[in-house]
């Protein structure tokens, strides 16, 4: 009996694991929340909107990405040698897990980073910026 139950639990976990694809969710979140300005491949637009793909700013500010996504950012900022003066509003509707998946997509898919972003890293970042704002 317990073995059957154990198998059932394992099976359910496996099913759930199949469904959980953080990168896929990150991509969907990117399309819904970021793409209209940062464009479909993260390339940005001229000197109006900064790229988030292959962007030095993303890698140099890796520890701030979660907070920037949640609380927004005001220019001027330098990305790949170009100054951008615009303003990005925050995305307060996104949960910690969603921001984690989004950051994961931006780092791994758009900036060819190998390391996986750890959920705790994002949580810690978000805790820091929630107290300062």
């Amino acid at each position: 009996m317990s073995k059957t139950l154990g198998n059932l639990v394992l099976f359910t976990l496996l099913l759930a694991a199949c469904d959980y694809k953080p990168r896929n969710q990150g991509k969907v979140l990117y399309e819904r929340n970021c793409q209209s300005c940062h464009m479909e491949s993260g390339q940005g637009l001229g000197r109006l909107l900064p790229p988030v793909a292959n962007a030095d700013y993303v890698l140099e500010h890796r520890a701030e990405l979660a907070c920037i996504i949640r609380h927004g950012i005001s220019g001027p900022i330098q990305v790949n040698g170009v100054t951008y003066e615009g303003e990005m509003e925050g995305n307060r509707q996104l949960t910690d897990v969603e921001i984690n998946n989004l950051v994961h997509f931006i780092l791994v898919d758009l900036n060819k980073q190998k390391e996986h972003f750890v959920i705790n890293e994002v949580r810690n970042q978000l805790e820091k910026c929630s107290s300062t704002r």
Binding site: S36, C37, M39, L45, G46, R47, L48, L49, E89
Partner: protein, 211 residues
């Protein structure tokens, strides 16, 4: 029969068709029209008169007056946007930039983008936006002007644009691109946020330039 078996014969048919003599594409004339009876050489002739784009006058990013004379005898593409628009405008401008780049050196094509936010979008601000997009005003005019004139022009082009405090950025508007021929008749409406539709627009521009 599986679907994949159809792919090859269908593909070959397409190839055959495309190898044949190119058939001239007929673009419809869009918009309101009226039917008029005229007497030509003593005979009664019934003719359909389509509405043409009416006169207008706005100011572009280099402070030049842009009016109906600017587009006289030329093909033009027009849209409505505002520089602080957080939703569809960047995509529209990315796509309009494709048209701008594809027709580099084509003096018979004019691009005309109207700002629906004349309060914030001053000439200076449009200039700054155009510079950052990397475009020249001789082929792509970003215009501002009297608010009522801009909105009434949008309505005239059958493009939805309105002040909406609930919409992101304060304005609600359509992302449509309109294609207008040398006779100032509307010949196509495209979703300016869709790469596929802008591909069709660019084909249609070619047709109109050689019409």
């Amino acid at each position: 029969m599986s679907r994949s078996k159809w792919v090859l014969p269908l593909g070959m048919m397409f190839l055959l068709v495309s190898c044949g003599e190119e058939v001239k594409k007929e673009l419809p004339v869009l918009g309101p029209y009226k039917v008029v009876d005229e007497v030509v050489d003593g005979a009664l002739v019934t003719d359909t008169m389509f509405t043409t784009v009416r006169p207008f006058s706005f100011t572009d990013q280099d402070s030049n007056e842009i009016n109906h004379a600017t587009v006289e005898g030329k093909v033009f593409v027009t849209d409505f946007f505002f520089t602080s628009c957080p939703t569809i405008c960047p995509k529209m401008k990315q796509q309009m930039l494709r048209v701008y780049d594809a027709f580099d050196g084509e003096s018979q094509l004019v691009l005309l983008s109207h700002s629906i936010d004349p309060i914030r979008d001053s000439v200076g601000r449009l200039k700054d936006y155009a510079d950052k997009l990397g475009i020249q005003s001789d082929r792509w005019h970003m215009v501002t002007g009297n608010r009522d004139s801009i909105y009434s022009m949008a309505k005239h082009y059958m493009i939805a644009a309105q002040v909406d405090e609930l919409a992101p950025g304060g304005y609600a508007h359509s992302g449509a691109f309109l294609l207008i021929d040398r006779n100032k008749q509307i010949r196509g409406i495209y979703d300016g946020t869709s790469e596929e539709e802008v591909d069709v627009l660019m084909e249609d521009i070619e047709w109109l330039l050689h019409e």
